[in-house]
Symmetry: C2
Subunit: 200 residues, 2 copies
């Protein structure tokens, strides 16, 4: 649960009241915003609680999943989309794929290596680079853990019908897209939004 957020959200009427004082306040927009943050935080919390009970964190799990794509196993290949493209191996690639800084990735790899999930090896061609590999222990962990993880995800969404799920994804994508615009996603010439290329 990463996010400090009010435990009880304001009622809609309160937002309406507040809007009288603050002309810029759009009650329904604020309502969506707060509910989105809360739902996201809670969903994260549900998943994270299970992770933590296995002595792993969200960030470390993410790294393991990324590295798994590089493992030469049928299961791993299925998870990768452009399946022939090799997964990330170097800290820089991992950081980029996970959307964190390299310094952060250094820390994650440090603890993963300390706990025996990962091994650093120097690149023979370029002595600046490292190559990160999963250990058998990590692969074993993932094979045991992932089914649990998927069950939890499925249970969390159980109360939504298929059509509701579809609607929800579309609406969330609208917000994501607008957020990208606002954060200035003026990166490469790519469409930039919802062009998924990674594993779970």
């Amino acid at each position: 649960m990463p996010l400090l957020l009010l435990k009880d959200l304001p009622r809609y009427e309160c937002l309406l009241e507040a809007a009288k004082e603050f002309p810029d306040l759009d009650p329904s927009a604020s309502e969506v915003f707060l509910h989105l943050l809360r739902a996201g935080d809670e969903a994260y919390g549900v998943s994270d609680r299970n992770l933590v009970s296995h002595n792993i964190s969200q960030g470390r799990f993410c790294v393991l999943m990324l590295l798994w794509r590089s493992v030469q196993s049928p299961a791993a290949k299925l998870l990768g989309p452009d399946c022939c493209v090799p997964g990330p191996r170097t800290p820089a690639e991992l950081a980029d794929a996970a959307g964190v800084t390299r310094a952060t990735m250094t820390g994650l790899i440090d603890t993963l290596e300390r706990d025996g999930f990962v091994k650093r090896e120097p690149d023979p061609d370029d002595r600046r680079m490292m190559s990160v590999r999963l250990t058998p222990k990590a692969e074993e962990f993932l094979r045991k853990f992932l089914p649990e993880h998927f069950q939890i995800t499925a249970k969390l969404m159980r109360t939504l019908t298929e059509s509701e799920r579809k609607t929800l994804v579309q609406l969330l994508n609208k917000i994501s897209q607008q957020a990208s615009v606002m954060l200035g996603a003026a990166s490469e010439g790519a469409p930039a939004v919802v062009s998924g290329t990674q594993a779970v």
Copy 2:
């Protein structure tokens, strides 16, 4: 942006592929889960970027908003729902309202006090307790900052129609409710879900 999350989400077809390998994987559930986390993270990021540009963090902002309810000003009263109920004042009340531990709240108050947004005063009746108050600087900051904040929220949701917003809130509430169940929200006899009682 608190959450380490894959920058590119897997395409739905990849989830379908992966489901062949993992019978527990519910593709549409995982899809919603990932999009929810990402949209929440991005919405958080949009808001946080503005906060940070004012040298304040999400957590500190949250504390300021909670304390604002205790200020004897018309604006503050409007934001509070059960408007007559005084807002939280002690670190324990603040921690409870914000859903963090008291240790965390101690740290937040420390930095807020250091930066001149807040003042700690001992309670004359119970010498264990402290009372936290906003400084004029903090009130001034909020009056200047909140309109910006509301504008950003409104802009983020601009692409959603009123009916889409309504739908989205309902669907998010379904997930929140299920998450509460799964996290074991078996606290008091209260209904426990969506019973908002706080300020923005």
